[in-house]
Symmetry: C2
Amino acid sequence: MKDAAWDDLKTVMALVRHGSLAAAGAALRLNYTTVARRIARAEAALGTTLFERLKDGYVPTDAAMLVAAHAGEMEACEHDLMRRLAGRDGTLEGALTITAPQLLIAYVLPTALAQFRALYPKVDLRVRATNDILDLSRREADLGIRISRTPGDTLTGLRLAEQHSASFASPGWAERIAKDPGAPIDWILYETHDDVPKAAREAYPSSRVQYRFDDMIAMAGAAQAGLGVVRMPMFLGRSLPGLMQVPLLPPQPYMDVWMVAHPDVWPGAKVRAFRDVLKADMKTRRALFVA
Amino acid sequence: MKDAAWDDLKTVMALVRHGSLAAAGAALRLNYTTVARRIARAEAALGTTLFERLKDGYVPTDAAMLVAAHAGEMEACEHDLMRRLAGRDGTLEGALTITAPQLLIAYVLPTALAQFRALYPKVDLRVRATNDILDLSRREADLGIRISRTPGDTLTGLRLAEQHSASFASPGWAERIAKDPGAPIDWILYETHDDVPKAAREAYPSSRVQYRFDDMIAMAGAAQAGLGVVRMPMFLGRSLPGLMQVPLLPPQPYMDVWMVAHPDVWPGAKVRAFRDVLKADMKTRRALFVA
DNA sequence: GGTTATACATGCGATAACGCATGCATGAAG
DNA sequence: CTTCATGCATGCGTTATCGCATGTATAACC
């Protein structure tokens, strides 16, 4: 049992995680044949069967699970290293990956991105638009912009803006509500909410839940199409064409906009440069976010 | 900055540790040209200079030290894995590495080794004869036989025998001492000892330190050649031809013989088999070690 | 001043690793 | 029953990696 090649251990871990040669290969950016060969190599090196070859694919043995667990620890060390290298990197060139919710990228960030682009043309800026919370410890992104109450336990953060929310709907709805406040009002709710906001229910008892969505973009689209009223952040309602604020809800505090990064990465030159640009840009448009 | 190949990180670590391409290559069992190429690859992948190419070799930068430190952690994870795999391995074939002091291997272990060989012919038994304390955590050996007071903090151990020591010399010296106990007596001491053992100095005031050695094999050879008297373990004096016990020192307790292994590795089938054979064999010859 | 040893650069041929295409088995869907 | 999708095995040609041989620079030594 010689000391196995580290890349082969990594490959075992990928296969355990992703379940099939093809999926593991995709994750490693390798052809699945190569994955199969590396597994065979690792088994020879360790002198153990790591996977049972069944009709429906490779099934990991206990030994493979053990290898995968330890390779996972090795991977954590690697991520730690990569973060620290990024944090002490003083150059203003190369890749910088930021992540933010689609809606912020679409309606708030473009000016800041353009400024950054002009100031630091050598930085290869990559934007990952997703509502998923990417793992900044694993360096899925260097810097994140998030709508939340706190930056998170392990992350360093900076509050970019306070936010208010309000109720928005299409002009048709606005008109109807103004004419006949007692008429039935259709609401589009976010999945996690049980009912129409309490303040709206009290002031407008005819409120009724018509749809529940799991995605704010879709909700906004539905509101634009006139399907109903949506409670959304001020910036969003104001940015989207075809939506008006309706007086069903008084503006109320919403989760803030934070810029966060792993403390190891935070002091890196590229991250710092982006932070400064975004911070300055956001300062000039705080009014967009509050009532 | 992509995720670098793990084997390249390992190579950076080897170069930092060993100082030159050639030395790192030897440690990795690679040609030094390959080391140079991997370093270049790693630098490209990380986007950082890792080594300054000076007239007298590669000098690591801070970044390389950082990489090396984290690769060291990864290596620790790998060793941990290898130990656990060895510990849960139930097969009685493949490599088993044991380590022991040369003198025990030469004069005590042969019978046990032969028995083990006969019982488990498929096990590829490797013996590392050295007084150096090999790192059993790093799997430099699976099992060690040591002469010490305790098995060590992190290791599991089993006491194979208690030991006594006594004074031995060539027959010429034995005769001389018997004839004229007052005549000068030449001692050969182990480096770490300041003076002749107290009991000998009191009973034979004419004792004088003639040589200080750092190696027991050499001391035994010198005693055989008649250069003087040596305090050594009973088993050794009794085993070596051309040596006799001389009455300068009463037999006294010496460090015991231990069999030790890392707790992860201890339950492995091959280690267990060797333990059983050696334990049984040693039981039959405890008398060899005590007065 | 010439010899030897260490340390690295470079070019070339050999080798091992890889990607791709093809084929087979299985199970789900039409 | 046919079709399609998934998952893997195998063979072949390509590519990247590696080891070896050679050459240069520097320092140490007689």
